[in-house]
């Protein structure tokens, strides 16, 4: 294998048959290029999906009240369900081990004013826990804390866009801003990687907003995260229990789907991982099919080469070449061409991915890359492909009868 002469033979035959070698190599290089790009693209889609959902904690469960669709327990249908503070307390007590963070949510619109600047924004009344659930990043100042919450302080955490709109160059932290003519003190500014729209939000303590809006204990929505050590099955089982118990508590028919809706992120995630898993499986299958086409192509060309070189092989055999030496020559040439051209394809594909990958950032497609293991596997496939493609032609070559090859007639 490391015989210098055999390599010289191979380089010789490659140098003297440039077009042939190029055509052979191109089919393999192209196959590998497509395979790697395909795997990279699937990876990019996976990244894109994950990124979209990563905006919120991935173990979040949302509880949204609705309107009943069935008469039950003496109530007529079309009854509005209203969540209250004691629902949160109840969940905290009943599912102490199952949940990690919990927060109520209250959605209100407000027209905000600072000096001469005004704007209309969504305000969410939340618990301090909500920072973790929504993965809110406070860039400046702080988030709502327990003290704010208990006292119902008129404080607000505003989004970066809100700060830009209202405060321009000024530092908003510590300043007072008017929400529907009530003064709130800005305690922090948050940013959100997900999208700009999220940065047009304002967070305030839930208690404060409940006080402002008629001193109620009503909440619009409950968000909680389940115990992060739970796997998918356990998480789904937990949200199932949650649903049953809340329906019982609010006297909703157990089969009523619209009275209370529980949205578990785990479910969506399992769907996505099944989807992307299927996608990468598909891409591997397609890639291998393309490679097979490439291998058949090489085999084809090798058979043709053997036919073309029949006379030469005959001469070599007449001069004393053993069949094994002929096999080695043909096989090594085929492996060399596939490995080299495949490697070039691999290099091009990974290079292209490395170059444009980081710049690719769309909602469902982000940073397509290939892992090192993919590259290694591709390389192994390449050498294997060369062996497979060269084997039959090599065997054929070794069986060339010198007498037939050398007959002048």
């Amino acid at each position: 294998m490391f015989d210098r002469d055999i390599w010289q033979e191979i380089f010789h035959s490659i140098r003297n048959n440039k077009l042939r070698t190029f055509l052979t190599g191109f089919s393999v290089g192209w196959g590998i290029f497509i395979l790697v790009m395909l795997l990279g693209s699937v990876n990019g889609m996976q990244n894109g999906f994950t990124k979209q959902f990563n905006d919120d904690a991935t173990n979040t469960i949302f509880i949204r009240p609705g309107t009943t669709s069935k008469a039950y327990a003496g109530f007529e249908k079309d009854r509005r369900i209203q969540l209250k503070n004691d629902d949160i307390e109840y969940i905290q007590k009943s599912f102490e081990k199952d949940h990690e963070y919990i927060s109520g949510r209250m959605f209100r619109n407000t027209s905000a004013r600072f000096k001469s600047e005004t704007g209309s924004y969504n305000v969410q009344g939340v618990h301090p826990d909500f920072q973790v659930i929504e993965k809110t990043i406070v860039a400046n100042g702080r988030y709502i804390n327990e003290n704010d919450f208990r006292s119902g302080a008129k404080v607000a955490v505003i989004g970066r866009k809100v700060a830009e709109d209202l405060f321009k160059e000024e530092d908003p932290v510590g300043k007072f801003v008017e929400f529907n003519s009530l003064p709130f003190r800005v305690i922090g500014v948050f940013t959100d990687e997900g999208d700009d729209n999220a940065e047009r939000n304002i967070y305030a303590p839930l208690t404060t907003y409940q006080k402002i809006y008629g001193n109620t204990d009503q909440i619009d929505q409950i968000a909680l995260t389940y115990n992060p050590s739970y796997n998918l099955t356990k998480a789904l089982e937990f949200s199932g229990r949650l649903e049953t118990i809340l329906k019982r508590r609010h006297l909703i028919a157990p089969e009523d789907q619209s009275g209370i809706r529980i949205f578990n992120y785990a479910e969506a995630f399992s769907d996505i991982s099944t989807f992307t898993g299927g996608l990468s499986f598909m891409s591997v299958v397609v890639g291998i099919l393309i490679l097979i086409a490439g291998i058949v192509g090489i085999g084809n060309i090798m058979v043709f080469i053997i036919k073309e070189r029949t006379k030469e092989i005959g001469i070599r055999k007449a001069l004393g070449a053993k069949p094994s030496q002929i096999i080695k020559l043909v096989l090594l040439e085929s492996v060399f061409i596939t490995a080299l051209s495949g490697f070039v394809g691999l290099l091009f594909a990974t290079g292209l991915l490395a170059l444009i990958g980081p710049n690719m950032d769309f909602p469902a497609f982000s940073n397509p890359t290939v892992s090192f293991s993919t590259v290694v596997i591709a390389t192994v496939i390449l050498v294997g492909a060369g062996l497979v493609a060269g084997f039959i032609p090599a065997l054929k070559a070794s069986r060339v009868k010198p007498i037939v090859a050398l007959s002048d007639k």
Binding site: D5, S13, E312, K317, L319, A321, K322, P323, S398, P402
Partner: protein, 233 residues
């Protein structure tokens, strides 16, 4: 050197069988220069192929330098060819992408001779056929006579026991033919055993013995007075 007894060979042509060699008895001593003559279809090429182990006989005995040539597998045949025989063909059969020197060195490569030694030997044999200056040229840059001389150098490089030449002058004009024959005679003068297949009378008479083949049997086997090719060059 060569001992053949009752050699038979037939080829299957569809349902028919063509009996080409019908019992050949033939022996060659060391240092002989034998011409094998016959019209086409007489079996002379088949005989040469069997002698060259490129083809196997159906029955009969073939002993080469004391080694019985029988039931050879491909690998063994390749080894014997490499060790015992040198070939010269009508159409030269040089490898067209290799230089003259590389062509001459090829049988040595299959003898596992080291690189440096191979080159030295190849140059030495090229020098012997008078083509040392053409060592780096490709066959396409050589004339017919030069190509055949390279082929002879290649056949000699492996230092074979027997040189088999199949119509070595068949593709050459008469002047070049005589040059090639002159070379063959000189190699024979050094004590090498050479068999030349030809259908040209004048070429045959430049050998020391002529064997006539007709319809698969030897009809005549005579010693002749060698005509030196030197005088025509």
């Amino acid at each position: 050197m060569i001992e053949i007894k009752n050699l038979h060979k037939s080829y299957k042509m569809g349902s028919n069988s063509l009996h080409v060699l019908k019992g050949i008895d033939f022996s060659v001593e060391e240092g002989e220069l034998v011409a094998i003559m016959g019209s086409s279809g007489s079996g002379k090429s088949t005989l040469l192929n069997i002698l060259g182990m490129l083809d196997a006989a159906d029955s009969g005995e073939y002993v080469l330098d004391g080694v019985p040539i029988k039931d050879l597998n491909e690998t063994k045949a390749a080894q014997y060819r490499n060790k015992f025989l040198g070939f010269v063909f009508q159409s030269f059969n040089l490898i067209n992408y290799k230089s003259a020197m590389e062509n001459v060195a090829l049988p040595l490569y299959y003898q596992r001779v080291g690189r440096k030694e191979r080159q030295d030997k190849a140059l030495k044999y090229l020098d012997q056929v008078g083509l040392k200056e053409w060592a780096t040229h490709l066959p396409s840059e050589l004339s017919g006579g030069q190509k055949q001389r390279v082929a002879i150098a290649r056949a000699m490089a492996a230092e074979p026991k027997v040189l088999l030449a199949d119509e070595p002058t068949g593709a050459l004009d008469s002047k070049t033919s005589y040059e090639v024959m002159d070379l063959i005679q000189k190699i024979n003068d050094d004590g090498n055993t050479i068999l030349v297949v030809t259908h040209e009378e004048d070429i045959a008479h430049m050998c020391k013995r002529i064997v006539h083949l007709k319809d698969g049997v030897i009809v005549e086997d005579k010693k002749v007075k060698q005509v030196r090719a030197q005088q025509y060059v």
